[in-house]
Amino acid sequence: MALQAVALALLLLPAAGALILALSALSISRRVVRLLGPGVVWLGFLCTLVLFVDSLQSGGPHDFSYWTWIRSGAFSLPANLLVDRLSVFMCLVVTGVGGLIVTYAVGYMDHENDASYARFFCYMDLFIFSMLLLVLAGNFVFLIMGWAMVGLSSYLLIGFYYWRYSAVAAARKAFVMNVVGDIALVLAAFAIFAQYHQTTYAGVFGALPRADDPWVEVIGFLLLVGGIAKSAQLPLHTWLPDAMEGPTPVSALIHAATMVTAGVYLIGRMHPIFDLAFWAHSTAALIGAVTALVAATIGIVQTDIKRVLAYSTMSQIGYMFLGVGLGAYAAGFYHLLAHAFFKALLFLGAGNVIHAMNDEQDMRRYGGLWKQLRPTSICFLIGSLALVGIFPLVGFFSKELILGDAFSKPDQGGFPQVMWAVGFLTAVLTGFYTGRMWWIAFWGEPARDRPVEHPHEAPPVMLVPVVILTVLTCIGGALQVNAGFDIPWRQVEDFLSPVVGPLPWSPRGLEWIPTAATLLLGGVAFLAAYNFYVSRVWRPWSAAVPWLQRLLERKYYFDEIYDAVFVRTMDGVANVGDRFLEEPVIDGAPTGVAAVAEAGAGTLSLTQSGYFRTYVLVFVGGALLGLAVILLARTAG
């Protein structure tokens, strides 16, 4: 009973924070905003810790049903929250990393000297609430509500600088592409209800058939489309790089640590469906692998530091999809946790740099920051190395867990091993683009056109969260050791296995070979970037293959293709509709009625001459006419 209240409090605290800030944004003092904005998230974190301790002790899932929301014939929908180890795991990420980022934002957003300050924290708290609703939902309706509301808060935060056209366009793009996924998710829920007549997770999973059938595949693919759109996987990924228009803490929280990993959560949460739906499940892995590779290649040529991080986010989420798509759920979620640590660290570090560089985001105009922004540089380096997967940082363990599990999965025509090979190649590319980012931005001499000559390190409120994330990145690897090594220390797997089950295959014992190769080649690629971009000992690779550089810089022409296929088509349809439907029919009907009424009134008003005797004449004439009619009728009758 007490736990039930804690779970509800966890959900409602950020909602209350958002509501208070929304209602009083114009009058509330900044001091209160500073306390309230991050405060409710940290209170939520405390609630999560209570649930976490309970889940460690009892382990059992709690399905807290608060009341029956809708009951109509066979349809019954309880307002229930599912608190099991998976949702507690996600809540820890959302409120923990979220708390750090929102705290960081207190400093980062400080130059907003009007009501926008409160507005920002209102949106952030709204996002935290939505994300918690998404992960705590115990039924499909709550899931869809949370799913749509994270999209909404993402939209609001990308378009936070609403006076900038590019921000508004990016927000709209993100929203539209997210809605594609929302629709797929809603359709999936419809299909589930039509097939199994259940709304709660427990009910649905209990009603699933024993073997694969077409409906399960349809549901699986619909869920997958929802996950792809939210997690910016191919081919619904183009919104994520543009979403970097939002303030940097937003990029860290929503577009790196939490919201974009919702697709991974969805697949993990729906694992009973995906375990049955072979094709949908394998497609998830395939999409993850392709996205990981494609995003990593694009990341090599980006010049905006946040866009490099955005593409690396896509790439890393591709790894998670690869993991959960192959059935290695714990590996996927471990990488989710690790990624939340080091990618939030990288974004916040980048935020410190951007702050110090007067909002300049082009990293070619940085250079030489290592000497001037030492604390941020060290943290950023650790984050970068974790991204590359260098021992003993958390990224090494989590990425190796995914790649090792893929490597050792028993043959399905070699599919997992192909996925592993793609992941391996991506890891090398990751080393290269991360190295490029690090060397260009922080090493070497300051760029000639650097905006600030003597940058200042960020204030403590921004530096401390970065340092905490750095520490987490350093020690997070202690949670789990790759199954290939004969060390029985698998905290993440053990924690999550009551929900997602244990890994259904056992390791081959050879995983250390690919692990060593990945570590080695990733590290070499990281160092090789130095010779390309700082010392320039080696000729730029793009000189040899300019067409490839062009292809990557145009991001494989995804935006251009979508523009031609969808945007232009819709514009054409809209123009036709405007000309032939909107103007003549929809506008035409009311304006036509108004025009007829106006003309009629104009004509009639001519009779209103204002002369008394005209009226009398008409009156008398009318009376006489009436009399004449009566008399004539009588005479005729």
Binding site: L606, Q608, S609, G610, Y611, F612, V616
Partner: protein, 112 residues
């Protein structure tokens, strides 16, 4: 003209057609007066004239049909006529107070 018979007036009789004819003459005088005269006071007088023409027919038919309702209704009409005259004159006095009007055609602000 059809025969409307006789009505009893005191000890003698009177041809109803004469009375109706007088009423028609009075009514037409009033109506034409309203139409062609421009002095508001005269228009009011002409309206009274038409009302009284109607009263005359009412009384005539009441006497002919031995029905008191017609006479009663005449009293009612006279009351209404008095009230109407009061209101009309009051309006006229108000208009005169604002501006010097001796022609109703000058009061045509409400034209469409």
């Amino acid at each position: 003209m059809p025969d409307y018979g006789q009505i009893q007036v005191g000890s003698g009789t009177l041809d109803a057609r004469l009375v109706l004819g007088l009423a028609v003459v009075l009514f037409v005088l009033g109506a034409v007066g309203v139409l062609i005269r421009r002095n508001p006071i005269v228009i009011l007088v002409c309206i009274e004239l038409m009302l009284n023409a109607a009263n005359l027919t009412l009384i005539m038919f009441a006497a002919q049909l031995h029905n008191l309702e017609g006479q009663l209704f005449t009293l009612m009409t006279m009351t209404v006529a008095a009230a109407e005259a009061v209101v009309g004159l009051a309006i006229l006095v108000d208009i005169f107070r604002v501006r010097d009007v001796d022609d109703v055609d000058q009061l045509s602000e409400l034209r469409g």
